[in-house]
Point group: C2
Chain length 334, copies 2
């Protein structure tokens, strides 16, 4: 957009108003993220090399049930952020976590198609990523992508996840500000409560606010949140109609308010500690998972499986046997 391109040679340190998502920077970013996704060793190299340039981006998580309009909302939010900030607008990285397809194992890649307008904006970088086997729904590589985008100079990074199952705690441990999206009067709110979404939302968006019941939904949510115990930050409830863009500016303001609250209250450091621990756990979990897969591959389980099908031996006994065999390489006790 209006960003001034500063040649790398004359760049004094890291200039804020350079657009990192233009030209070669864009291609390089895409390549680094792919490399990090494909290999944790390479991820380590990349992250280590850019580490000193990280720590400036505001990381925002957007979650909610399928069909609540997350993608449209994120596109609108990104375009809104592009209009904000001094000179040229904020640059925005988007990481859309797609539930892995059972057969292909790859991401659906539908988000880049859905976010047509945003994908034409050179200040926005969109990346789809498969959730793979990551327990919480957010793969290790998403954390690497955050670091890489942050180092490149993204002002804001938005992570999109489907909020069902375990993903809810995972997203809040990965970002600074968690935005939970629900629809008015739908079963969404009960489902979201069930999934623990309300407990992690710093901001609750009632999307599709042109639908009947939006006011009532927002009011009851506010009541619920104010009477709950939520520390020094009472979660904001924002009514949005993502399709028309109504309420999106207010959402951006609420996100900014939350960022300031984190800084002023000292909670930012606490969140960053949680994020750091979360990253480490993700890496270890991935490695353990790979290790398990390697072990299971090597060990001949076919006979055990047949015995199990014949109800001669239980899964617990087979698991114990395998674990003891794997631990056999360790001294005495594990």
């Amino acid at each position: 957009m209006g960003a001034t391109e500063t040649p790398a040679a004359v760049r004094p340190g890291r200039k804020k108003k350079r657009n990192p998502f233009e030209g070669k920077g864009r291609a390089r970013l895409a390549r680094l993220i792919s490399e990090a996704e494909n290999s944790s060793d390479r991820a380590r190299e990349i992250v280590n090399s850019v580490l000193h340039r990280t720590g400036r981006a505001h990381v925002i998580g957007v979650t909610g049930p399928p069909g609540c309009g997350k993608s449209t909302l994120i596109e609108r939010l990104a375009l809104q952020l592009r209009k904000e900030g001094s000179g040229g607008g904020k640059t925005v990285g988007i990481i859309a976590i797609d539930p892995s397809s059972a057969s292909s194992g790859g991401a659906f890649m539908g988000n880049r198609v859905r976010m047509r307008e945003a994908s034409r904006d050179r200040g926005i970088f969109i990346r789809s990523m498969a959730s793979r086997a990551s327990p919480g729904g957010i793969p290790r590589a998403a954390c690497d992508a955050i670091k890489i985008m942050d180092a490149a100079g993204a002002d804001c990074i938005i992570i999109e996840t489907v909020g069902a199952g375990q993903t809810q705690t995972d997203i809040s441990r990965t970002v600074h500000t968690t935005v939970v999206v629900v629809q008015p009067e739908s079963g969404d709110i009960i489902q979201a409560m069930k999934a623990g979404l309300m407990e992690i939302g710093d901001i609750i968006v009632v999307n599709k606010s042109d639908l009947a019941g939006a006011d009532r939904t927002a009011t009851s949510l506010r009541h619920m949140l104010e009477t709950g115990h939520y520390g020094s930050w009472v979660p904001r409830v924002v009514k949005v109609t993502a399709t028309s863009g109504k309420g999106v500016a207010e959402l951006a303001r609420s996100i900014e308010e939350h960022r300031r609250h984190l800084e002023a209250s000292g909670e930012l450091a606490q969140r960053e500690r949680t994020m750091a621990l979360n990253e480490v756990e993700k890496i270890i979990e991935e490695e353990m998972r790979k290790e398990l897969a390697r072990k299971m591959e090597k060990i001949k389980v076919q006979k055990d499986i047949e015995s199990m099908v014949a109800r001669k031996v239980s899964s617990h006994d087979v698991a114990k046997k395998l674990m003891m065999r794997a631990a056999g390489k360790c001294r005495k006790k594990r």
Copy 2:
């Protein structure tokens, strides 16, 4: 209901028409499942002791996006199955996996409340279970509960999971027959395809078929499934209105057809092998997860975390250090 209670003393082996969910049997079942849930060692004891009586129940998975009406459908299906089978109707075990709440860590326990009619039927046993930290959304304890209900004499066991994120492959590896539930014309179908749900469904239920567009949805689903490659079984599409019960008898018939197909085609043995392997993996994963938690607790990570927040060291380096320290108890190479 009409089941004849045979006193345990005169029971010749294991009589089919005894209702295992009545009286003391019911309380015992609840207790055993809780014990198995709370301790994997105890689960091993219990499963080993009942193993010889397992292998008769038909295990059915029901999955779909939040709000598609799974609970109501399952209740209706269970009540339908109660009317079927010779003498006294089939007995049905239900395991409802609730997404864990972030703060409480426990299940929402909403299903027993929602399935009011089913919970009054003495031939139906309903159990809610938190998904906890299980990567695929189905906890190890659910597999134990299947075994325990099977051994007790359940004819059918229905597992309910929310179909988003990773849960999709997990459910199909846990059951004989996978039922995927969608709503007509909703974004559900695209979301379900995204989540790989269509690839795992042996039966697709278009629920809320009284809504507009149900016929069109069912027709396009059928077309899609017939033109795809699905081996010897072409997934059935069944229109259901769970609230009124319309189509539920047909669903029960389709499930029975699928069971017969599995037996006749020899695919049953293959599925049981997959289920067996899945169980073993779940147990090992849980143990590895516990082991990781124990290690992380012992190791002082506070200083590393602070270095990470200060951007002095990367998550990858900290993870590597911790893993090497943990592996340090092993000889030379792991």
